[in-house]
């Protein structure tokens, strides 16, 4: 049913449709509205779940770890510092191959304190072993959340659904909220084969010595790699039931033949699409690669999507100081095995919530026309604002 809903409210509704047994979350801007909406659903009797109002994100992650290990469908949400506080637990959840779902309302990481959107938080936990999916709209966030529960269950891996803080979480837009009956058809009840059960007791979280650790890591990596087709499969299955997909591992938007491409994750993709609509006459059209799966990283799909591209702008919403953009660096790495791969321009922008206008499309494409264009820059930084020695 189509409704005008705030993003956070829509996510809460989606969670409710997935019937989690346990929800634990600690409020943090801009995730707060999700927690509030869930609390309200519980208070009104519209959601029957054990809602654990924890005292920190660290405990939120720990609670869902324990709950899922005990055989419950579990969900949490956080952002920014909260994700960093959770990070230790996140490694644990994935290391024990515990399936659960988390929404990350992406936000910058301090200091300085900054509550606005970028993707530094999710990038800080890129090696935590979670499946990380990015959404460009609240509709995608809703759909991906529902898919994430099935994905987690089938892969026995935790799934983080990323949605840009404020830009999506606080934006009201028209959402087609799936019907409960259809969600029930799509999403089987939660089952966890290794769950803690007195009838069949196992010990989880054992000590593994060096003789076995490489194999453990290999199996985790292999599970992530095997999740690539699973992500596509589950998205397709979703489309079958609900009539729309969320973009599998990645999709190519805009001019699919263009020799110039822009690759990005999250809501900025939409702005680039709008920018292309507005400015294609001026700077030409581009392939716009909407990357949905960041972990596992779809190397082959990326190379396929970028065949024939000469110049590629990778938009990063986070940086790794001293190296450059995170996504850009990773894209460059996977393109290194490609014959005649594109020249990669890695531009970070919109850090800490700086507004990205549709005209950015034009600005980016113009910038790379210059043969001396830098391969990495924080594109929207005005260096004049800095003392010379800090430029």
């Amino acid at each position: 049913m189509r409704e005008a809903l705030e993003g956070s409210q829509a996510i809460a509704r989606a969670i409710s449709l997935c019937k989690p047994d346990v929800v634990a979350a600690y409020p943090i801007t801009p995730q707060t509205h999700i927690v509030e909406n869930l609390s309200k659903l519980v208070a009104d009797g519209n959601l029957h779940t054990e809602f654990v109002s924890v005292e920190s994100e660290f405990s939120a992650a720990s609670v869902v770890l324990g709950a899922a290990a005990a055989g419950a469908r579990a969900y949490t949400a956080s952002a920014s510092q909260g994700i960093l506080l959770m990070s230790e637990v996140m490694y644990n959840i994935s290391g024990m191959r515990i399936p659960l779902v988390m929404t990350i309302a992406n936000r910058a990481v301090g200091a300085p304190l900054n509550i606005w959107n970028d993707q530094s938080d999710t990038m800080a936990v890129r090696d935590a072993g979670w499946i990380q999916l990015h959404c460009i709209s609240n509709q995608e966030a809703v759909d991906t959340t529902i898919q994430a529960f099935r994905l987690a269950q089938e892969t026995e891996l935790p799934v983080a659904v990323n949605m840009d803080g404020f830009v999506l979480t606080h934006t009201m837009e028209v959402i087609d909220v799936p019907a409960q009956a259809e969600v029930d058809k799509y999403l089987p009840p939660f089952e966890f084969s290794r769950k803690l059960d007195p009838a069949n007791p196992v010990s989880m979280g054992t000590l593994v010595d060096p003789n076995w650790f490489s194999e453990v890591r290999h199996s985790h990596h292999a599970a992530m790699v095997k999740a690539l087709p699973k992500i596509e499969e589950i998205d397709k299955a979703f489309a079958k039931v609900f009539g729309r997909a969320s973009g599998g591992l990645l999709t190519v938007e805009g001019d699919k033949k263009a020799k110039v491409a822009i690759l990005a994750m999250g809501s900025v993709v939409g702005t680039m699409m709008a920018g292309q609509d507005e400015f294609k006459d001026e700077v030409g059209s581009a392939r716009i690669v909407k990357l949905r799966a960041f972990r596992p990283f779809p190397a082959k799909a990326l190379r396929d999507a970028l065949k024939g591209v000469e110049k590629l702008v990778v938009i990063d919403r986070a940086i790794s100081p001293g190296l450059g953009g995170v996504l850009g660096t990773e894209v460059s790495a996977v393109l290194s095995t490609m014959d005649n791969g594109p020249k990669v321009y890695n531009y970070a922008l919109g850090l800490g919530g700086r507004d990205i206008q549709a005209s950015m499309y034009k600005d980016l494409l113009k910038a790379i026309e210059n043969p001396k264009a830098p391969r990495f820059a924080i594109f929207d930084a005005d260096l004049k604002k800095l003392p010379p020695e800090d430029r």
Binding site: M1, R2, E3, A4, L5, E6, P30, I115, W116, I136, S137, D164, F166, V167, L168, H170, T171, M172, E173, V174, S267, V268, V269, G270, T271, M273, A274, G275, G353, D355, I356, Q357, A358
Partner: protein
């Protein structure tokens, strides 16, 4: 909660004509791509500016449009200047940037206009509705149309609280006819209930009556 059913079916929509031009209304053979309308609402924390944006978007949704509404996020507290943005269109809206050049502005507190930059980017063919007892001329700095309307007084009179947002929205929609009043009422029903809803419905009816209906229906001729 919104009902999900478009309460009014209006096609072609007069509001869209704003940007399409008069031809569309006349039923031209090749109507242009529908063009998005952008709004910016200014106010102070506590006046319900974000709520007004959500209401406007919800009303548009009730009228069958796609919509987008979001605040300019900040750590502002009660009393501080805030703004919120609304986009209305007939096709999905992918643009996520803040509205820098609104077609229309609603200003909930006339003191905000002491800042000359407040109206920066406002479409000269658009218009601005100001909540004020002062005459509109006080705020008219350019050719852009301005109407002043004492929404706070009306709100105090009808609902007993100095929250001007719904009165302003009603007056605004009466002026622009972008979305029918019935859609606004439906949006209010999705947000309020009981006496609050009743009072607000009374308020928007009165507010709509205080302005000249359809005055901003047409594009301004700069």
């Amino acid at each position: 909660m919104a009902t999900g059913e478009a309460v009014v079916q209006i096609a072609p929509n007069p509001a869209i004509a704003l940007k399409r031009g008069a031809e569309a209304l006349a039923g031209a053979e090749e109507p242009e791509e529908p063009i998005m309308i952008e709004y910016r609402i200014h106010g102070r924390g506590g006046q319900g500016s974000v709520a007004a944006a959500y209401l406007l978007a919800a009303a548009a949704f009730e009228a069958g449009f796609t919509c987008q509404a979001f605040p300019a996020f900040g750590a502002e507290r009660r009393g501080a200047p805030v703004m919120a943005f609304v986009r209305i269109d007939e096709k999905p809206i992918t643009l996520r940037s803040q509205v820098r050049s609104p077609d229309f502005m609603i200003v909930q507190d006339d003191t905000l206009l002491l800042d000359p930059n407040l109206t920066a980017g406002l479409n000269p063919e658009g218009a601005m509705l100001v909540n004020s007892r002062k005459p509109a001329s006080e705020f008219k700095k350019s050719k852009t149309r301005v109407i002043a309307f004492p929404a706070t007084e009306l709100a105090v009179e009808v609902i007993g609280r100095p929250i001007p947002n719904t009165a302003l929205l009603a007056a605004f929609l009466a002026l622009t006819e972008h979305v029918p009043q019935k859609a606004l009422a439906a949006a209010l029903k999705g947000r309020f209930a009981g006496p609050v809803l009743e009072k607000n419905l009374e308020l928007i009816a009165k507010a709509a009556d205080t302005v000249e209906k359809g005055a901003w229906k047409e594009k301004a001729h700069a």
